[in-house]
Symmetry: C2
């Protein structure tokens, strides 16, 4: 995994890919599937995401205030769905789905080695957790896998329908 | 425009498309380009979005607590970029970009007739506006244009690079 400058993190999440979120509590790592997230600040990169109190990851995220957001390419799509269809209360998902946990440098939850990008995050604001499950995260460290070139991400349209990244276009823009 | 059931609104925004946001203040409509948004609740559909206090739309959104989120297909891509590259302080964007404002049913800001979906929204929570520019919206009414079949949306990767929706895949899933 190669270091990614924090100034470029927004380019990973702004397009809206389905991601994985890892947590760790009492020495046990877990992973969930997540589509409700957005950028909030370019640098330091800040992210808002929704983790519902019905998600098994909720308690670990609220208690430890640490997570990793891992971005899977389309080759992991069926695994990503399967991860979302079961609970860490019942399943050791890293083992069940043959994912490789990799030690992070700033947080306890593991990176997911199979994902092309991994973002080490701490929770910096919980004011909207009770009302909406909204956590505000700050990215401490970002990693990309240089072996995965031009990875295509997936975007959820509901009920198992996903749209895969298609062609890229370049338009004249002054926007970052 | 045809009515879209509110239960299906999340399927429009969860995939992370670039959208337009219209506001209206003192009888004058404005429109901005936005990529920082996420679903927060299925039904009633609730959305979080970031509108910075550097955006001209910020004052109107905070004062009137109303907006419309309009979802453009790829054919509008260059127009969407141009809308993001100027300010409503200087330009009447509906006129400059030849967009057709259409009266909404529940809010003062207009729908954008050229977009394939339009969501009439009210602001329901401003607690994180000062800290992050995060507004929590509730969708009151949703519209789709039945004449635009299988619209492809665009996803921003920074500096004028956009990825267009590619192929759709269907995976066995129990997730909504």
């Amino acid at each position: 995994m190669r270091d990614l400058p924090l100034s470029r993190v927004y380019q990973l999440l702004e397009p809206g890919p389905v991601v994985l979120l890892t947590t760790s509590a009492r020495g046990r790592a877990n992973v969930m599937t997540m589509s409700w997230h957005m950028m909030v600040e370019f640098e330091p990169p800040r992210i808002a995401c929704v983790v519902s109190n019905g998600d098994y990851s909720f308690a670990a995220l609220r208690a430890t205030k640490e997570c990793v957001i891992a971005v899977p390419a389309v080759k992991l799509a069926q695994k990503v769905v399967n991860i979302g269809n079961c609970s860490g209360a019942d399943v050791d998902k890293f083992a069940a789905f043959d994912l490789t946990p990799k030690r992070a440098s700033h947080v306890a939850p593991p990176l997911v080695a199979e994902c092309f990008a991994n973002l080490e995050c701490k929770v910096i604001d919980t004011r909207l957790v009770n009302a909406y499950g909204i956590f505000i995260l700050e990215v401490l460290k970002a990693w990309v896998d240089p072996a995965q070139k031009n990875p295509k991400t997936i975007h959820h349209h509901g009920f198992g329908k996903f749209v895969v990244d298609g062609r890229a276009i370049k338009l004249k823009s002054r926007m970052r």
